[in-house]
C-alpha cells in the first residue's frame, strides 16, 4: 500500500526525490523514520535451513519493516542466498532440503500447511543474480509474463507494461522496441527487465539476490535507483557483496557469518549504525574490508 499506516504518529512525507539526490537521501531517511517502521512486513523466527544433513543456516530471527530496504551482507557461503530463498518458499525446490522455524508474512507463517506457496511467490517476488528473461518472449511479453503464467486478466496491457518498465527505469530505453526479444538487451537492461517483470505482479515484497553482480557501474547505479524508488511502496530485501551498495540503498543491514558451521546472523541494525558504529568486531572488520 502506498498510504502510510494511519496509526503512525509521524507520516512519512519524504518527497519523491529526483534521480540524482535520491541516493544521498537514504541516510537521512533512515534516522528519521525508525519509529514509524515495524508494522507489517516480513519477519523470520528461529529460521534454520539444511541441505540433506548439512546445516546451512542457524537460528535467524530478523524483521523486515514494511517499505524499507534491508541489505543482507556477509562472505560467500554464509547462508544469505539460502535465507533469501526461504523467504518466498524457493528453498523447497532443492532436493533433500529441510527447514525449521517460521517466516511470518502479514502475521501468518508462510510455511503453515494451509498456505499456498504459489500465492506466496506471487506476492513475494524475486530477482536472481543472473538476468533470466524468457527467451521465447519479447520485451513486452516478458513484463507481463507473471500475469500470463498466473492466468490473471489484464485490462490494459500496454499501460501496465509502460508503468512497470518505467518503475524499473527501463522504459525510455526500450519503448520503441517492445517487440524485440528479451535477450537482445544488454545485461543491465535485462536485469531491469527482470525487475519490471516482478513488479507487474504488484508484489508486497521484492527479494533481490545479488542483482548487480554481473552489471557495469552505470547499470548498477540505475538498478540501485530503482530499488530505492521501489521501497516507497514495497519491502525490499537485497543480498549484496558490495559494501558501498549496501550503504547506498539499504535502510537496515544484516550481517551473516559462518565459522565453518552453519551461517548465523551476527548483527542487524540500521545501515548507518552498521557502518559507523557496529556492535560486533567481526561486523566492523567485514564492512571495512578486513576479511571476506
Amino acid at each position: 500500500m502506498d498510504t502510510p499506516d494511519s496509526n503512525s504518529t509521524e507520516v512519512i512525507s519524504t518527497p519523491v526525490p529526483t534521480e540524482t539526490t535520491v541516493i544521498e537521501d537514504r541516510t537521512r531517511r533512515n534516522a528519521d523514520n525508525l519509529e514509524v517502521k515495524g508494522g507489517g512486513g516480513l519477519e523470520t523466527r528461529g529460521l534454520h535451513a539444511w541441505f540433506n544433513k548439512h546445516h546451512a543456516l542457524a537460528d535467524v530471527s530478523l524483521h523486515f519493516p514494511e517499505n524499507t530496504v534491508t541489505g543482507l551482507i556477509g562472505p560467500s557461503g554464509c547462508g544469505k542466498s539460502t535465507f533469501l530463498r526461504m523467504l518466498n518458499r524457493m528453498h523447497e525446490f532443492i532436493p533433500k532440503a529441510s527447514m525449521a522455524g517460521e517466516v511470518l508474512f502479514e502475521g501468518r507463517d508462510i510455511y503453515a500447511t494451509d498456505v499456498n506457496p504459489i500465492e506466496i511467490r506471487r506476492r513475494i517476488g524475486m530477482v536472481f543474480q543472473k538476468p533470466n528473461p524468457f527467451p521465447a518472449m519479447n520485451i513486452g511479453e516478458n513484463v507481463i509474463a507473471g500475469l500470463k503464467l498466473a492466468k490473471i486478466k489484464v485490462k490494459d496491457k500496454d499501460t501496465l507494461i509502460e508503468e512497470c518498465l518505467t518503475r524499473a527505469g527501463l522504459w525510455k530505453e526500450v519503448k520503441d522496441r517492445l517487440k524485440a526479444p528479451g535477450g537482445s538487451l544488454s545485461g543491465g537492461q535485462q536485469q531491469r527487465l527482470c525487475i519490471a517483470r516482478s513488479l507487474a505482479l504488484q508484489p508486497d515484497v521484492l527479494l533481490l539476490d545479488e542483482p548487480c553482480s554481473a552489471l557495469d557501474p552505470g547499470s548498477t547505479l540505475r538498478v540501485e535507483e530503482t530499488i530505492v524508488q521501489l521501497s516507497e511502496s514495497m519491502t525490499v530485501v537485497i543480498v549484496t557483496h558490495n559494501m558501498q551498495q549496501a550503504a547506498r540503498v539499504s535502510d537496515y543491514c544484516a550481517f551473516f557469518l559462518s565459522d565453518g558451521g552453519p551461517g548465523r546472523l551476527v548483527e542487524a541494525d540500521l545501515t548507518t549504525n552498521m557502518f559507523s558504529n557496529p556492535r560486533d568486531t567481526r561486523t566492523a572488520d567485514y564492512v571495512q574490508g578486513r576479511f571476506g
Binding site: G46, H48, H55, S98, M99, A100, Y111, I118, E119
Partner: protein, 350 residues
C-alpha cells in the same frame, strides 16, 4: 519466562512442503472411489468392457479431484486435477508394461528348472520334457555378439558425434544426414547387407557376422544420441579449456567427453536396447547353433533366434521354451542396463 538459551539447541528438521499423510490418504480414497464408480458404470450402463472402464476412470478421477479440492480455490483445484491426470496417464502407461512382463513371467517361468541357465540344447530336442536342456548357449551367444557390437559401435558412434559437433568438419552435415538415414534401415536389410558382404565372402555364418549386423543397427542410435548429449555441453567449458592453452583434442577428451560420461553411457544403453532383441539381422548372419560355443568363426546361438526357432516347431514344450527364452532375454537386457547405469553413476561421481 524462559531465558534465552545458548544457540546450541537445534530444532528438528522439517519439510512442510511435503505431502502430508492425510493428503496421501485422501488421494487414495479418491482413486478407490473413482475405480468403484467406473466399475459401477460398466456394470449398469451400456458402457461395457475394459475400454469403458478406463474411459469411466479417466472421467471420474479428475471430476472427483476437482470437487474435493475446489474449496482451496480455483488454482489449487486446477493444479490437482492436472496432477491427477498425469498420474492416471502414468498408470495407463504402466498397464501394458506390467501386462507384458507378467505374461512373459507367467508363461516363461514354467520352462525354468535347475539347469536352465547352465545347460544347452546339444543333446536335447526342443520337444523333450522341460527338465532337460537350457538356454546357456543362447545367453552366451547373445552376450558375445552384443559385447562385440558395442565395442565397435560405441566408439565409432561417439567419434561420429564428435566429428559432427566438436570438429564440425566439412562433411559434418553429410555425416549427420547419413546417420539419420541409417537409423531408418530395416533390421533385415542390415542382416542382408552383412550376408552379401561378409557371410558369402568369408564362406559361412559366424558370430562375427552377427555382431557386424548389430553394429549397423547400433551405430546410428549411438551417434545420434551422443550428438544430442554433446550439444548440451555449454560452450563456456570449451572456451575455458581453450583459454588455458589446451588443444582441441585435449579439450574434447579431457573436458567435454568426461562432462557427459553418463550421457554417453545412455547412448550405449539405447544402442544395446536397439539390437538386443533383434531376430532378423541374425537369421542371415549368425544363424543358430544348439551347443554352447565361443568360436567367433562358427554359427552361434542367440536368445532371439532360440525363441524364434522354438516357436516355429509348434510343439507345446518347445513353445514353453520360447517363453522361457523371452523371460531370460528380458532379464539379460535388464541386467545389462543396470550394469551400465551403475557404471555411469560411478563415472559421474568421480
Amino acid at each position: 519466562m524462559t531465558t534465552a538459551l545458548a544457540p546450541t539447541a537445534v530444532p528438528a528438521q522439517r519439510r512442510p512442503w511435503n505431502r502430508r499423510r492425510q493428503t496421501v490418504v485422501r488421494s487414495g480414497i479418491l482413486v478407490l472411489a473413482s475405480l468403484a464408480i467406473s466399475y459401477g458404470l460398466t456394470e449398469t450402463t451400456e458402457l461395457g468392457g475394459i475400454l469403458g472402464f478406463y474411459l469411466g476412470l479417466a472421467l471420474c478421477l479428475p471430476v472427483l479431484v476437482f470437487a474435493e479440492s475446489i474449496r482451496h480455490g480455483w488454482n489449487v483445484a486446477v493444479d490437482r486435477v492436472a496432477a491427477s491426470v498425469i498420474v492416471a496417464a502414468f498408470g495407463a502407461v504402466l498397464i501394458p508394461w506390467a501386462s507384458i512382463f507378467l505374461t512373459v513371467y507367467r508363461k516363461g517361468s514354467k520352462a525354468f528348472h535347475a539347469g536352465y541357465l547352465t545347460e544347452d540344447m546339444r543333446i536335447t530336442p526342443s520337444s523333450d520334457p522341460l527338465q532337460f536342456g537350457g538356454v546357456a548357449h543362447a545367453i552366451v551367444g547373445t552376450l558375445i555378439m552384443v559385447l562385440i557390437a558395442s565395442a565397435i559401435a560405441v566408439p565409432l558412434g561417439i567419434t561420429a558425434a564428435v566429428y559432427i559437433v566438436e570438429v564440425k568438419g566439412r562433411f559434418a552435415g553429410f555425416v549427420r544426414f547419413l546417420t539419420q538415414a541409417m537409423s531408418g534401415v530395416p533390421s533385415i536389410v542390415a542382416g542382408l547387407f552383412i550376408y552379401a558382404t561378409v557371410v558369402i565372402f568369408f564362406g559361412g555364418f559366424s558370430a562375427w557376422a552377427g555382431a557386424l549386423a548389430y553394429v549397423i543397427l547400433m551405430l546410428p542410435t549411438v551417434a545420434r544420441t551422443a550428438e544430442e548429449v554433446l550439444k548440451l555441453v555449454p560452450d563456456e567449458l570449451r572456451s575455458a579449456s581453450y583459454a588455458l592453452g589446451a588443444s582441441q583434442a585435449r579439450t574434447t577428451f579431457r573436458v567435454v567427453l568426461p562432462t557427459i560420461a553418463s550421457g554417453l553411457v545412455t547412448s550405449a544403453i539405447l544402442g544395446v536396447a536397439r539390437v538386443a532383441g533383434e531376430t532378423a539381422p541374425l537369421i542371415l548372419t549368425a544363424s543358430y547353433f544348439v551347443a554352447t560355443s565361443t568360436n567367433l568363426n562358427e554359427p552361434i546361438a542367440s536368445l532371439p533366434i532360440y525363441i524364434f526357432s522354438s516357436l516355429g516347431l509348434g510343439d507345446d514344450n518347445a513353445t514353453t521354451r520360447a517363453w522361457g527364452g523371452s523371460l531370460v532375454l528380458l532379464i539379460v537386457v535388464f541386467v545389462l542396463f543396470a550394469l551400465a547405469r551403475t557404471l555411469s553413476t560411478r563415472l559421474s561421481r568421480k
